[in-house]
Symmetry: C2
Subunit: 423 residues, 2 copies
């Protein structure tokens, strides 16, 4: 069942790719209009999910995410319209080379193919993801949580009707409503090019461990802030507090603050801990700091709290901080606070993480804040896309060559020039 | 054993990345010198492999590849020196954004991490791959075929001694000589970022099917040439013959020629078949052409001969040709021959393959011919790198942000500008 949908989605993606960009743009505007027009039906279906959820054992936070709040549909439509107004990312020229006289090569962006998005609860994720997928010309399979099944079915219907009116094949976006379980979908590595899990760490980890399809995402977000001996105390306090308190459950929240030992003797470590505590943060100590600063011990050197708790550790040098981060971090986002420009640049050069910051909160690690437009996810994989990923992460490339009868013939008669041409 | 080597290689890669580019350049020049200086020892060890191979059941073609021919070492050294002279690919700025006043973001290229190269026979692959890996700052694990074990051990020793003299850690390049089998290496998906198999289709397929580590490569090369009704007969003959005859065993050799039906009635199909046969090619017919052109039947619609045999099929339109290619090709390289510019552009737009050509031999699908410098491989994967892959395929990116105490604080007090800055 899902395999047939995947094949249809690929076929539809090839149709979508060959059409003029204006058709994909029209489809996005059509979705935005249809969502607004069908708001009351969508909310009715969402209400059914909320009613059904009352009889299920669903955590309060999930219920929160399940509910489409007032103004949500209008906000979604606005986001989709702004995506429609943006530049078309498909078929963009990335590179152009004169290979030989009369023989030209170009590399252009192309849809990745077929995406599988597995998401929990949030029905508002569906239109967001579907729009990004259309913008990038991809086929899409959606597998939502059963707690949102009424909402998802309704929104999916509204969307495929809308794209069909605009001239795109409705098979481009398939909602997996059959009994196919996630395990079956994850076996379709010949048919699906990328899986994007949107949900809990457990969901992401489960998917990463159970498929050969590349996974775009991150299971952990163990971010560090290293406070150098030459840090400005005012920046230390505000960056440490913001990195934790702004949104403690986010993957880009800080989990461990490393102080240079000089900050302990200067009192900066103690003052920062007091500032964190004043902001509602519980502070725990790593094996070193627990003794030196008299803090309750952290569960481990590599722990993601996801709440208003943070580990503090003491290191003897930046070298030691970098090693600590490599050994215990998740290569997501790590930050140095220092007024020593050279130390800052050295840290930026040496820390092998997706995002490395100097004197800025780890919370900036985000597709919107980076200016990527819509965010597909944050990847801690090193392959394909790394860090906050925008619509570019849903693209691959193709090489196009134009000649006039050129042959290789053992490279005997051809004069390669390999000149870079303007795009 | 291999897991320890992988961890050491990652550590060494981080050291290499933090060093100045000139150290990596020096290491490459040091390898080139050392290979030349140690030529006689290397050839002695290669001779041992050749002697041992006589008692093994090794095909003649493998023996050919096993032997380091006269002048090979000098040629390798020359290639490595030219890589050393090229631009350093690590830490290159790819994107720069002013996020807000005083807050700047940049995306830079970075080593992928740890590569695993599994190669058969050819000992000359070792220095080539090791040099590309050093150029891109990656850690490397090498697993060679046991038939080349003396050559590999000797060359590996020469290389790690050379890089150590230049100031790089020798752990950067590990030769897996222990009893660890390929199966064990392929389980190290937490420690290895990319596998590059260099060898037979069977090796590549086996690796793709047995690991969760991303694989850069291609198992099949089922390339098509479509001869449009408006094709220039002279170009048809030369491109079809070259695409097959230039190197029939290559993955970019044509396996199936599709003729528009008009070319059958005009006699162009018959003439091309005669030209192919005159060039030594056996021509077989697809289900349509077998009857229409009286050809012996091809084994299947999707067959890679890898020798001087080709399938011919007849289609009614370009539409049908494109569908045929999508259904039976391997999305490697496909070509249209036509004087109709619009049809050519349409084909380039619609065929969903890594390389799509207009009026040029499929044999151009190659990293050197594309002007990518050294070739890492040709990828038919859609993720990360697609088509001929140069040293860029061994890189990922990192995001670096520089602020002066910037915090997010619910985005209340920050004015995002997201201005693209010059690189």
């Amino acid at each position: 069942m899902a395999d047939v949908m995947a094949e249809e989605a690929r076929r539809a993606s090839r149709v979508a790719q060959a059409l003029d960009a204006s058709v994909r743009t029209k489809a996005l505007l059509s979705i935005a209009d249809a969502l607004v027009e069908n708001e009351s039906v969508i909310l009715q279906e969402n209400h059914k999910d909320l009613e059904a959820a009352k009889n299920m054992d669903i955590p309060a936070a999930t219920l929160q995410r399940l509910k489409l709040k007032d103004g949500k549909i209008a906000q979604l439509a606005k986001g989709i319209r702004s995506l429609a107004e943006g530049e078309d990312p498909v078929g963009r020229r990335l590179r152009r080379t004169k290979v030989a006289e009369g023989l030209e090569l170009e590399q252009v962006s192309a849809p990745l193919g077929v995406l599988l998005i597995i998401f929990e609860a949030r029905p508002d994720a569906l239109p967001q993801i579907a729009s990004l997928s259309i913008r990038s010309g991809n086929g899409l399979l959606l597998k939502g949580g059963k707690e949102a099944s009424h909402s998802n079915r309704c929104i999916h219907g509204v969307i495929v009707d809308a794209i069909e009116r605009a001239g795109l094949p409705r098979d481009l976006i398939g909602l997996v409503t059959s009994r196919d379980e996630i395990a079956d979908l994850l076996k379709l590595d010949k048919l699906i090019d990328l899986v994007i899990p949107r949900g809990s760490n457990q969901l992401v980890t489960h998917i990463q461990q159970n498929t050969k399809i590349p996974v775009l995402g991150h299971a952990d977000g163990i971010c560090h802030v290293y406070v150098d001996e030459k840090a400005d105390p005012a920046k230390v306090s505000s960056i440490c507090v913001d990195s934790k308190v702004d949104y403690p459950a986010a993957c880009n929240a800080v989990e461990c603050i490393l102080f240079h030992r000089a900050c302990v003797s200067s009192g900066l470590a103690g003052k920062t801990i007091a500032d964190l505590e004043a902001a509602g943060v519980s502070v725990r100590g790593g094996t070193g700091a627990a003794g030196e600063l008299g803090l309750p011990p952290a569960p481990s050197a590599s722990h993601e709290y996801g709440d208003l708790t943070v580990t503090v550790e003491v290191v003897g040098s930046m070298e030691e901080a970098v090693d600590y981060i490599h050994a215990n971090g998740s290569a997501h986002t790590d930050c140095i606070i220092t007024e020593d420009k050279e130390a800052g640049e050295d840290f930026l050069k040496r820390v092998d993480s997706a995002c490395v910051f100097h004197n800025a909160s780890t919370r900036f690690s985000d597709g919107f804040r980076f200016g990527l437009g819509a965010e597909v996810g944050i990847s801690t994989s090193r392959i394909h896309a790394r860090g906050p990923v925008g619509v570019d992460g849903l693209l691959t490339t193709r090489w196009l060559m134009r000649g006039s009868g050129h042959v290789v013939n053992k490279d005997k008669d051809i004069d390669y020039v390999h000149e870079t041409m303007p795009l």
